[in-house]
């Protein structure tokens, strides 16, 4: 238990240990710890950012979906509208066509009737003339009574 030169030796040894610790042990460990802390906080921040981005993307996708649905509904209603329009148009044109055909046919019929009447009139007139001729052969000169015949014919 005597105080002796061990005291000096211990002090020197102590100083050397502290120097070594300060030079080679402390800085690398604290640096690594600081770096890791930074890395972890960066990672957490990135995670947080990713989460908010995901949220945004989800929101955006919902919006897009909604829009698309709306558009589709619009397209469908437009198509329906157009279809009914086409049907209506077709109906109208068919009616028109029918009417046109009908009126054509009517006109033709009228024409036919007219023509038939004309020919009938002609025939009746010629028949009448022939009858009258036969009756009047002797007494009536066709040339003399042409005026009269013509009048009769127009009255028929």
């Amino acid at each position: 238990m005597n105080i002796n030169a061990t005291l000096l030796g211990q002090t020197i040894m102590f100083a050397m240990f502290v120097w070594f610790c300060m030079r080679f042990v402390w800085p690398p460990i604290t640096n690594a710890m600081g770096e890791r802390a930074k890395k972890i906080s960066d990672g957490l921040a990135a995670g947080e950012r990713g989460k908010t981005e995901l949220e945004l993307a989800t929101k955006r996708s919902l919006e897009i979906l909604h829009e698309a649905k709306q558009k589709a509904a619009e397209v469908i209603s437009q198509a329906e509208h157009r279809a009914s329009q086409i049907v209506e148009e077709a109906k109208n044109s068919a009616k028109e066509e029918g009417e046109r055909l009908l009126s054509g046919a009517k006109a033709e019929i009228e024409q036919e009737v007219f023509r038939a009447r004309e020919s009938l009139r002609d025939q009746v007139a010629s028949l009448a003339v022939a009858g009258a001729e036969k009756i009047l052969r002797q007494e009536i000169d066709a040339g003399k009574h042409a005026e009269l015949l013509k009048t009769i014919r127009s009255e028929l």
Binding site: M1, N2, I3, N4, A5, T6, L7, L8, G9, Q10, T11, M13, F14, A15, F17, V18, F20, C21, M22, F24, V25, W26, P27, P28, I29, T30, N31, A32, M33, E35, R36, K38, K39
Partner: protein, 274 residues
């Protein structure tokens, strides 16, 4: 484990004797064979056991932490690195808690103090007879394995701390500031002798209390282990086991106290209070 040929007091004194190397009475250099020879060697002698055990333990500490420092990176820490970082963080927290200045020396100093003292204190838990018996078998007369039961070791450290305290006091406050602190308070300049006496005691008590607290605790603990070892072998464990378990606490606590007080003293050295 005192046997018939050795008395209790011989056993105890043998266990408390250092392996001292110095100049023997006949003028030659060698190892003291008894307490008187060791005393006669005077100041220029070396306690080989203290010196080499503390050197070995300090080297172990630096080796472990040096390896951890080399392996440390910002990735996932391995077990050793994890442990080292845990300890570093613990010391860093202690320093942050009590040291307000800015000094890169304080934290590594605190870590070294804590671990070195911790390991040296742990030597106390080696059964008291193992190392001296082994030494005897190897022809070495004494071997005291706990360096912190040697005041040379504890004073060696506290003087190192004291030098730092004085150095930083002068560096931060200037020589005038340091002397002023010693002489001009608490009673003002007319009470100068009283101031010098009080502040001088205050200053000197720092290293003395650091060294003696650690030494006293460890020496007393060692002494009790030796006393327990004198009892019959079948009753020893009933006392040595509780004492050893209690001692684990003391070992840690003393290392922690030395570290914390070092930080506090250095903090006081960095503070200007006028």
């Amino acid at each position: 484990m005192a046997n018939g040929t050795v008395t209790s007091s011989e056993y105890i004194t043998h266990h408390l004797e250092h392996l001292t190397w110095g100049r023997l009475p006949d003028g030659a250099w060698g190892i003291a064979q008894n307490a008187e020879q060791a005393k006669e060697m005077g100041f220029w002698a070396l306690n080989l056991d203290t010196f080499f055990v503390s050197l070995f333990l300090g080297a172990i500490f630096l080796f472990i932490f040096g390896r951890a420092a080399k392996a440390a990176n910002s990735g996932v820490p391995s077990g050793l690195v994890n442990f080292a970082e845990w300890m570093v963080e613990f010391v860093e927290d202690s320093v942050k808690g009590s040291f307000s200045g800015k000094n890169t020396l304080v934290a590594p100093l605190a870590l070294t103090i804590f671990f070195w003292i911790y390991l040296m204190n742990w030597m106390d838990l080696i059964p008291v007879d193992y190392v001296p018996s082994l030494a005897k078998a190897l022809g070495v007369p004494f071997f005291k394995v706990v360096p912190t039961t040697d005041p040379n070791a504890t004073f060696g450290m506290s003087i190192g701390v004291f030098i730092l305290v004085v150095y930083y006091s002068i560096k931060i406050k200037g020589l005038g500031g340091f002397i002023g602190e010693l002489t001009l308070q608490p009673f003002g300049k007319f009470g100068l002798p009283a101031n010098l006496f009080l502040e001088g005691v205050n200053l000197i008590s720092k290293p003395v209390s650091l060294a003696l607290r650690l030494f006293g605790n460890m020496y007393a603990g060692e002494m009790i282990f030796i006393l327990i070892a004198i009892l019959p072998f079948w009753v020893q464990w009933t006392l040595s086991l509780p004492w050893a378990i209690f001692h684990i606490l003391i070992v840690t606590l003393q290392a922690f106290i030395f570290m914390t007080l070092t930080i506090v003293y250095l903090d006081m050295a960095h503070q200007e209070h006028h």
